[in-house]
């Protein structure tokens, strides 16, 4: 595979389409907090996007996909310090002479983690904020905001605040902002993640139909990407590499470990004692306190069961009640009616939290200590039956199993490593059941499958929440769907 030739930019303008974005010989190295010399993330990276082109840039984790997007938007190294060299031009203007706000009407960035982009307290305000900044006339602004809100199905949520939205709803808000701004360049970082099938299809149609320059950054190749892009590139070895689509995909699959055997196939599940988790006639409500307009959401679960060693998936649209159900299962919330029982014994919230481990979508809310060792030992130290030697032994074995370095600082570790640490913490807790909330989001299939295999090793029953049909089919034989708070076995 070859790096994109930097002399592409030297062709006379009359021989090529107008260039929307060009990056020439870009090098970037993050500045370490600890003054440690870090490896460069990019060296002599070049990339050119023609006006109206649709490009997919695949990158395995930690290869700088998000950093590249932030550099293009002008916010890195401004807010994420590092040494940057090279030349970036947006519609012929040198990026080094521009501020991030100058790019508002030129380029819209949809972040992988939607939470990091919210600045207002309601959906409507969030969509209107950039238009207000542009000084747009009120009539025009209203029409754009209404259209975007309508397109992305946010009408009932217009006055809802960010913390009351699900992950997919948050992503839709960012896409509505992108639509409202109507900039000629769209930078979409894992924009398909978190979205259910309906909205994935809509985003795909939008990319196809709108005459925009689109750069989609992704760490997994999804079914939806088929026939969507003019070119598929690979970010590896600190450069953007180009080749035929099939070559890029096979190289990418190799880098992600997708050509390795599925860890679930040769994994042995050691069930010491068979247990069954059953939910019967559960009823719960979710209220959005910031709005009067949204209908009250009711969750009704007639029948749900999960046995030791089972791997069951739960698939459903955004806002259908997956997280509400998960919170009930692990005892963070109590149902208004019905009961959750293990082996026929109904359990209260406090008991449930010791039976069902819940891996939040974001690992950062579940890891909080200075070193990996302390993180892993935290729960074991609270177990009165364990001696210090035993704790040390268990922690060391677990770290080796999950390929973790005990002296590492969790907050500075990469995302997949933090996710592995989060799983390792629960592995040591040895819960009989686990709920994995969108584990596959922002992880390679191989990394996600390895985590599942390890958690299941001791015979735990696993409920996996996912939007990715491909992944769901890969891992499970039994599945539930949830729609408008109603659960159904498939």
């Amino acid at each position: 595979m070859e790096p994109l030739p930097s002399d592409l930019m030297s062709f006379p303008a009359k021989y090529k389409m107008a260039t929307a974005l060009s990056i020439n010989n870009l090098s970037f190295t993050y500045t370490s907090w600890t003054q440690k010399q870090l490896e460069p993330l990019f060296t002599d990276l070049s990339l050119e996007l023609k006006e109206g082109s649709k490009t997919l840039l695949l990158a395995p984790f930690n290869k700088g996909k998000t950093t590249l997007a932030k550099i293009i938007c002008g916010v890195c190294p401004k807010y994420f310090p590092g040494a940057l060299s090279g030349e970036i031009q947006v519609f012929g203007k040198d990026l080094s002479t521009l501020e991030p706000w100058d790019l508002l009407s030129q380029c819209t960035y949809v972040a992988q983690n939607p939470q990091e982009q919210f600045v207002s307290t309601s959906v409507e305000e969030e969509v209107a904020f950039p238009l207000e900044s542009m000084g747009m006339e009120v009539q025009e602004m209203r029409s754009r905001v209404n259209a975007a809100i309508q397109t992305w199905g946010l009408h009932d949520l217009r006055s809802s605040s960010e913390q009351e939205l699900s992950g997919g709803e948050r992503k839709r808000v960012l896409l509505a902002i992108m639509q409202a701004i109507d900039a000629p360049i769209w930078l979409l970082d894992e924009a398909f993640d978190d979205l259910d099938q309906k909205w994935r299809d809509q985003l795909k149609a939008m990319i196809q139909n709108e005459k925009k320059t689109v750069l989609v950054l992704a760490s997994r190749y999804l079914e939806e990407f088929n026939d969507l892009f003019d070119s598929v590139l690979l970010l590896d070895e600190k450069k953007v590499l180009q080749a035929s689509v099939s070559n890029v995909l096979s190289q990418f699959a190799h880098l992600c470990g997708d050509d390795l055997p599925n860890p679930l196939h040769h994994e042995r599940c050691n069930i010491a004692q068979e247990k069954t988790l059953v939910c019967a006639d559960l009823y719960a409500e979710r209220v959005r306190v910031s709005t009067n307009t949204a209908a009250k959401f009711n969750l009704e679960i007639k029948d749900f069961s999960l046995k030791s060693g089972e791997l069951v998936t739960l698939v459903g649209p955004n806002g259908s009640g997956k997280s509400t159900f998960s919170r009930l299962l692990c005892g963070l919330d109590a149902p208004l009616e019905g009961a959750i029982s293990v082996d026929g014994k109904a359990l209260v919230s406090k008991q449930l939290s010791k039976k069902v481990g819940y891996l939040f979508q974001s690992p950062d809310l579940q890891i909080f200590l200075p070193t990996v060792y302390e993180e892993l030992a935290w729960s074991l130290q609270r177990n009165s039956n364990l001696k210090r030697k035993e704790i040390e032994q268990q922690v060391t074995e677990c770290a080796s199993l999950f390929s973790l370095d005990l002296s590492d600082t969790p907050t500075t570790m990469s995302y997949p490593q933090r996710k592995a640490l989060q799983a390792a913490v629960y592995y040591l807790l040895d819960r009989p059941f686990y709920v994995l909330d969108e584990l596959d989001s922002a992880l390679t299939y191989q990394a996600a499958l390895s985590i599942i295999a390890r958690l299941r090793h001791k015979g735990a029953g696993i409920l996996l929440i996912t939007h990715d049909r491909q992944f769901a089919q890969m891992v499970t034989t039994r599945s539930y769907t949830i729609q408008d708070g109603r659960l159904q076995a498939v």
Binding site: T121, S122, F129, L131, S133, G135, M141, T291, N292, D430
Partner: protein, 256 residues
């Protein structure tokens, strides 16, 4: 990175002009420092709490009280000792532990604290943040300053939200045989939770700055506004009411 403080409702405070409400909030905060008796002060505090109950519901009233409870406990425990003069209430042999004046001062301090907390909470619970922003701008506060004020009032609840989520995560990580925790264990557990909440907050600062600039904060052209305050037609009447309420409470003290 911002948490909404608005609680949807239909009470009269929701229909009150935000500009007048802002004035009322300031006047009420001043009122709590006027030279009034403890009974008068407590009665006004109770009235404010009742207004909160009627407009925003008991959940908000209880949640607000619980959030200031640790502070109130500190006040009850420590402030009576600061006043050594006056008639003794509790004595251990010749040592006076608490005096009547000491107790009164503690109660007065608590009443003011509760009153001011509820008045401010009610403003933000019954007014959408963009209307607070518009009201501040109506008072000629520059846009940047108004944004800083409103961001501060949404960022603090965000940190509190992160704290709750991290606490939930702790709960899920309790050992199997862990029973009811002792006070010191709870206190010890608070440290990593606070540290993580702080880390989450610190990590979100560059993201917030990044997002504001990517949304055009910094552009020098005239900023337009999606919303306006034209849905409040009785601005003058509301201003009069805002001035009348503290005056009525002052002159009506003889009734208490």
């Amino acid at each position: 990175m911002t948490t909404n403080t608005f609680v949807a409702g239909t009470g009269w405070l929701y229909r009150f002009d935000p500009r007048a409400k802002l004035l009322l909030m300031v006047l009420m905060c001043v009122w709590f420092f006027l030279p009034v008796s403890l009974i008068e002060l407590s009665t006004v505090v109770i009235l404010v709490v009742l207004v909160g109950l009627y407009n925003a519901g008991w959940k908000l009233v209880v949640r607000t009280f619980l959030s200031i409870l640790p502070m109130l406990i500190f006040m009850v425990i420590f402030s009576p000792f600061n006043v050594r003069t006056g008639s003794p209430l509790i004595q251990i042999k010749s040592f006076t532990l608490i005096t009547e004046q000491g107790l009164e001062q503690a109660l007065r301090l608590m009443s003011r604290f509760i009153g001011i907390t509820y008045v401010c909470t009610l403003l933000f619970a019954t007014t959408p943040m963009h209307e607070v922003m518009l009201a501040l701008r109506w008072y000629r506060l520059p846009y940047r300053a108004s944004l800083v004020v409103t961001l501060a009032f949404t960022y603090i609840p965000f940190i509190s939200d992160s704290f709750s989520q991290i606490s939930e995560s702790h709960r899920l990580r309790e050992a199997d045989d862990e029973t009811k925790k002792r006070f010191f264990t709870r206190l010890k557990d608070l440290l990593p939770t606070l540290t993580s909440a702080l880390v989450v907050a610190l990590r979100s600062i560059p993201n917030l700055a990044m997002s504001l600039e990517l949304r055009g904060f910094g552009l020098e052209n005239r900023r337009t506004s999606f919303h306006d305050l034209s849905s409040y037609p009785y601005t003058f009447t509301h201003f009069v009411v805002s001035c009348m309420i503290p005056l009525a409470l002052w002159f009506g003290r003889s009734i208490f």
